[in-house]
C-alpha cells in the first residue's frame, strides 16, 4: 500500500478547497501528475467532501416557518407579525388561541386597539363556531347546535390591550435533550412516531388545523359576500384569456429532422407580448432553495405547501413528483402559490409507503411525471371524468416504471430521475432538442415520438419557459425512451400546426381557483384533444394540450365544471392522517361536479 508523500499530504485538503497559496497549488499540481499515491489521496478527500454535501442535502432540509419566527418574536417581546390580510390574520390568531387549549403552544397576540376588542371577541366566537364545525364529522350530528367549544375559549377571550405572549408550557422551551437517543417510538393515536420527529409532526398538525380554520373562514366570508359573485362566474363568459393566448401560438417555421423517431417543434408566441420576465419559480427549484415547504396534508389526497418567499410565486405543475413524506406524491393540477401563501395541493401517491417513518416533509422534486401520466392526471382533474382514481394511477405508474427501469421494483417515479443510465440516455436526447428551443419568442414545444404527438407544453413567456424547459422536456424524453422503438414516423409540421390552431376553438369550461391562479380547462371540438391552462389573473403562466384521452380514462363520463365554483380554495380536512378529504368534489367517488 502506498502512502501519500509526507511533504504534501497535510496540504491536500487545503489544496482541494483552493485555500493554498498559488505557488503551492502549482507545486502540488505538478507533483500530482507524477504521484499516484497523492492523487488517490486527493480523490478520496474529494469523495468525502461530495458524500458529505449530498448527505447533508438529504439530511437537514429544514423549511423556514412562520411558527418559528413568531416564537422568536414572542421571546424578544416584539410584535413582529407580518402584515397579512388583517381579518385572516386575526382569525389565525384567534384560532391559535383556541388551539392553545388543546395543543399548548406559544403565539403572539396581535396588538389590539381598545376599540378592536369587541371585534376581536366576535372573531373569537366565530372561530369557536368554526372549530365546532370542524369537529362535526366526529361529533354526533344532532347535538351540534349547542357549542361545546365555548368553555375552552372563555379564559382566553379577552387579551391584554398590548401585545402579550400567550404561552402554554411549551416543550420548545425545555432544555436540550440530555443524550442523543437512538430510536424511541411513541404512540400517537393509532400511529407510531419517532420521538425526535414528534415536535415537527405536532407543529405541522397544528398548522394544518389553523389552515383548515382559515380556509373555512374564507369560505364563510365568500358565502356571505359572494352570492352575487356566483352569478358573475356564470357560463356565458367573455372569450377566455386562455383561448386568446392559444390563438397567438404558432409552430415555428423550421425544418429540423427527427432524431431516433422523436421530433420536437418549437412553439412561438406571436402578437403583442407582455414584458418577458419569469413569472414563477419551478416547484423543484423552490423546494431546493427552501422557498416552498411541502408537508403531508390531511390525507393521502393532498399535501400542504407554503411559499416562504416574499416576492416570487411558485408554479407546481400537474405531474410534479414530490419526494418524501410517508409516500412520494404527484401533484394533480397546476397550482400557482403566491408569496406567503399556504394552501393544499391535490395529489396522488406514486410510490411505496415508507414503513417505520414519521417524515412529513417532502424534501425534493427531481422530476415531472411522463406525459401519459400527466395527461391522466389532467383528464382526471380537469374535465373528463369522475377521476381515474388512485388504483388506476398506481397501475399506470408501475407500467411506466417497469418500462423505464426494469431493475427497480420500488414503483416511485422519483427513481426514474435518479437512475444514472436513464439520466444519461435522457441527457443525450435532450442535448439534441434543447438547442432548438432557444429563440427569444419560443415559449414551448410540441413533442412527438413515432407517429404520436405526446403533447404540447407552453408557458406565458420565454423567460418562464426557460426556467421550466429542462424539466418538462425531460419528462417527454423519458416517455420516448419508455416507448423503446416508437412506431411510425413523426407527423409533418402542418399536422402539429393544425392541432395548435384548433386549440382556441375548443370548448372552454368554467374557471376555478387554484392557489393564487385560475385554472381554465378546455376540450377540443372533436372530443379528442384536451388540456388546461393556469392563469395569473388574466395572464397565462402555463398551458398544456394533449391530443388524445389516455387509455383507461372514461371520457364519456360527466364533463361539467371540475368543482363547485363556490369552492374558492381546495379545503383541507381538519382531521388526522387518513381521515380522507371529504370536501374535494371529484376526488374519486363522484362525477365532475356541476355548478349549482
Amino acid at each position: 500500500v502506498n502512502h501519500p508523500c509526507p511533504r504534501f499530504e497535510p496540504e491536500l485538503s487545503a489544496y482541494l478547497d483552493g485555500e493554498t497559496s498559488a505557488a503551492l497549488a502549482a507545486e502540488i499540481d505538478e507533483h500530482l501528475r507524477g504521484c499516484d499515491a497523492c492523487r488517490a489521496a486527493v480523490a478520496q478527500l474529494r469523495d468525502v467532501s461530495r458524500t458529505l454535501r449530498r448527505w447533508d442535502a438529504h439530511e437537514t432540509r429544514y423549511a423556514a416557518s412562520t411558527g418559528f419566527r413568531n416564537r422568536v418574536f414572542a421571546k424578544v417581546g416584539a410584535d413582529g407579525v407580518a402584515p397579512r390580510s388583517d381579518v385572516v390574520w386575526r382569525i389565525a390568531a384567534a384560532a391559535a388561541l383556541v388551539a392553545v387549549g388543546a395543543g399548548g403552544f406559544a403565539l403572539v397576540v396581535p396588538r389590539l386597539r381598545p376599540d378592536e376588542h369587541a371585534q376581536y371577541e366576535a372573531l373569537a366566537e366565530e372561530v369557536g363556531a368554526l372549530k365546532a364545525a370542524l369537529r362535526e364529522p366526529r361529533a354526533a350530528a344532532p347535538g351540534r347546535a349547542s357549542d361545546p367549544f365555548v368553555q375552552e375559549t372563555t379564559p382566553l377571550a379577552r387579551p391584554e390591550p398590548l401585545g402579550r405572549v400567550v404561552a402554554a408550557p411549551d416543550s420548545a422551551d425545555a432544555p436540550p435533550a440530555p443524550q442523543p437517543v437512538a430510536e424511541i417510538w411513541e404512540q400517537r393515536g393509532d400511529e407510531r412516531f419517532l420521538r425526535e420527529a414528534l415536535p415537527e409532526h405536532d407543529t405541522y398538525t397544528r398548522e394544518r388545523r389553523i389552515l383548515a380554520l382559515e380556509e373555512q373562514a374564507q369560505k364563510m366570508q365568500a358565502a356571505l359576500a359572494g352570492k352575487q359573485g356566483r352569478e358573475t362566474s356564470a357560463p356565458a363568459a367573455p372569450p377566455s384569456p386562455l383561448a386568446t393566448f392559444l390563438g397567438e401560438l404558432r409552430v415555428a417555421e423550421t425544418n429540423f429532422s427527427p432524431y431516433e423517431q422523436v421530433q420536437v417543434w418549437p412553439i412561438e408566441l406571436v402578437g403583442p407580448r407582455s414584458a418577458d420576465r419569469s413569472r414563477a419559480v419551478p416547484c423543484a427549484d423552490a423546494i431546493a432553495q427552501e422557498i416552498l415547504a411541502v408537508t403531508e396534508g390531511a390525507s393521502r389526497e393532498s399535501v400542504v405547501a407554503v411559499n416562504n418567499d416574499a416576492k416570487r410565486s411558485v408554479l407546481v405543475l400537474a405531474g410534479d413528483v414530490l419526494a418524501g413524506g410517508k409516500q412520494d406524491r404527484v401533484a394533480r393540477e397546476d397550482v400557482l402559490v403566491a408569496p406567503g401563501q399556504r394552501l393544499s395541493i391535490p395529489t396522488y401517491t406514486c410510490g411505496r409507503e415508507r414503513e417505520r417513518t414519521s417524515y412529513v416533509t417532502f424534501r425534493h422534486s427531481d422530476g415531472l411525471a411522463t406525459p401519459d401520466l400527466r395527461a391522466m392526471v389532467a383528464a382526471d382533474q380537469a374535465l373528463l371524468s369522475g377521476g381515474v382514481g388512485q388504483d388506476q394511477f398506481d397501475d399506470a405508474v408501475s407500467r411506466t416504471v417497469k418500462a423505464l427501469a426494469s431493475t427497480s421494483r420500488l414503483g416511485s417515479l422519483d427513481n426514474l430521475y435518479s437512475n444514472p443510465q436513464l439520466s444519461d440516455a435522457a441527457e443525450r436526447l435532450m442535448k439534441k432538442f434543447e438547442k432548438r428551443l432557444e429563440g427569444p419568442s419560443v415559449v414551448g414545444f410540441a413533442f412527438a415520438a413515432g407517429s404520436q404527438i405526446l403533447g404540447v407544453d407552453v408557458f406565458g413567456d420565454h423567460a418562464t419557459f426557460v426556467d421550466h424547459r429542462a424539466r418538462v422536456l425531460r419528462s417527454y424524453v423519458m416517455a420516448a425512451i419508455a416507448m423503446d422503438r416508437p412506431e411510425g414516423v413523426p407527423p409533418a409540421r402542418s399536422v402539429v400546426a393544425d392541432v395548435v390552431a384548433a386549440a382556441p376553438k375548443s370548448a372552454f369550461h368554467a374557471d376555478a381557483a387554484s392557489g393564487s391562479g385560475t385554472l381554465s380547462v378546455f376540450r377540443g371540438a372533436d372530443g379528442g384533444a384536451f388540456g388546461f391552462g393556469i392563469l395569473d389573473t388574466t395572464r397565462v403562466v402555463h398551458a398544456v394540450l394533449f391530443t388524445s384521452v389516455p387509455a383507461g380514462v372514461d371520457a364519456t363520463a360527466a364533463r361539467g365544471g371540475r368543482r363547485n365554483p363556490g369552492d374558492v380554495t381546495p379545503p383541507l380536512d381538519g382531521g388526522g392522517h387518513g381521515s380522507g378529504s371529504s370536501s374535494r368534489g371529484n376526488s374519486g367517488e363522484g362525477g365532475g361536479v356541476e355548478a349549482k
Binding site: 500500500v1 502506498n2 502512502h3 501519500p4 497535510p10 496540504e11 478547497d17 485555500e19 488517490a40 489521496a41 480523490a43 478520496q44 478527500l45 469523495d47 468525502v48 467532501s49 461530495r50 458524500t51 458529505l52 454535501r53 448527505w55 447533508d56 438529504h58 439530511e59 437537514t60 429544514y62 423549511a63 423556514a64 416557518s65 418559528f68 419566527r69 422568536v72 418574536f73 424578544v76 413582529g80 407580518a82 416543550s171 420548545a172 432544555p175 436540550p176 435533550a177 440530555p178 443524550q179 442523543p180 437517543v181 425526535e196 420527529a197 415536535p199 415537527e200 427552501e290 416562504n308 416574499a310 415508507r354 427501469a405 431493475t407 420500488l410 427513481n415 435518479s418 437512475n419 444514472p420
Partner: protein, 197 residues
C-alpha cells in the same frame, strides 16, 4: 435591490422589526441545519436556532459591520451550540471530555485503483454518515461543517472558531481523513443506487 445582511443588522439595531424578520427568513434554515448537526435532534436544533436569533436581536446594537454578517452569525450560533452540547454532556454525567484532536491521526492509505464514489442513497447509508459525522471530535466536526455545509472560507472559519488558519487547515484535513476511513464501507458497486427506498 435586496438589502445586505449587514445593512439589515444595522436596521435591526435601530429597532426595525421587518428587517429582523427578513434576516430570520434568510438565516433560519442555516441556523437549524447547523444546530441539527451539532445535536442530532430536531428539538434541540430548534431551540438553539431560536436562542441564536434572540441573541442576535439583543446584541444588534453592538454589532459592528466590520466582519461579514455570516461570520458573526456563525460565531454566535457556534458558541451557543458548543455551550449547550457541553452542558448536555455534563448533565449526562460524562464530565468534561478531553479532546483528542491532536492525538489521533490515521494516515490515508491509497487504494489500488480509484474507488467508486461513496453513495448516500439509502437510509442505512445516511445513518452511517450521520454516525461517522457525530463521532468526530467537536472541533473537527465544526470546522468541517462550516466548510462543507456552510461554504465558509478558512479565514471565516478561523474567525468563527477563534482559531488560527493553521489550526483550521489541520482540523478540516483530519476530519476528512477520519471520515474517509469510516466511510470506506460506503463505496459500493453502481447497482446500489437502485435500492433507494
Amino acid at each position: 435591490l435586496a438589502d445586505t445582511d449587514e445593512l439589515l443588522m444595522r436596521k435591526v439595531a435601530r429597532g426595525d422589526l421587518a428587517a429582523f424578520r427578513l434576516l430570520m427568513e434568510r438565516w433560519e434554515g442555516a441556523a437549524k441545519r447547523y444546530a441539527y448537526r451539532s445535536f442530532g435532534d430536531y428539538q434541540s436544533a430548534e431551540d438553539a436556532a431560536q436562542e441564536t436569533f434572540i441573541r442576535l436581536f439583543r446584541s444588534a446594537s453592538r454589532y459592528e459591520p466590520t466582519a461579514k454578517f455570516s461570520t458573526y452569525f456563525y460565531t454566535v450560533l457556534g458558541n451557543l451550540c458548543r455551550d449547550r452540547a457541553r452542558a448536555a454532556k455534563r448533565r449526562a454525567g460524562h464530565g468534561e471530555q478531553v479532546e483528542d484532536v491532536f492525538v489521533l491521526d490515521e494516515t490515508v492509505a491509497a487504494p489500488e485503483g480509484l474507488s467508486p464514489e461513496p453513495r448516500v442513497e439509502t437510509e442505512e447509508e445516511r445513518l452511517l454518515v450521520r454516525e461517522a459525522v457525530s463521532e468526530l471530535p467537536e472541533k473537527l466536526r465544526e470546522a468541517l461543517s462550516l466548510r462543507e455545509f456552510e461554504g465558509l472560507s478558512y479565514l471565516e472559519i478561523a474567525a468563527v472558531m477563534q482559531a488560527n488558519l493553521g489550526e483550521v487547515k489541520t482540523w478540516i484535513h483530519r476530519g476528512r481523513k477520519r471520515l474517509a476511513h469510516r466511510l470506506r464501507r460506503l463505496a459500493g458497486p453502481e447497482e446500489r443506487r437502485e435500492s433507494r427506498p
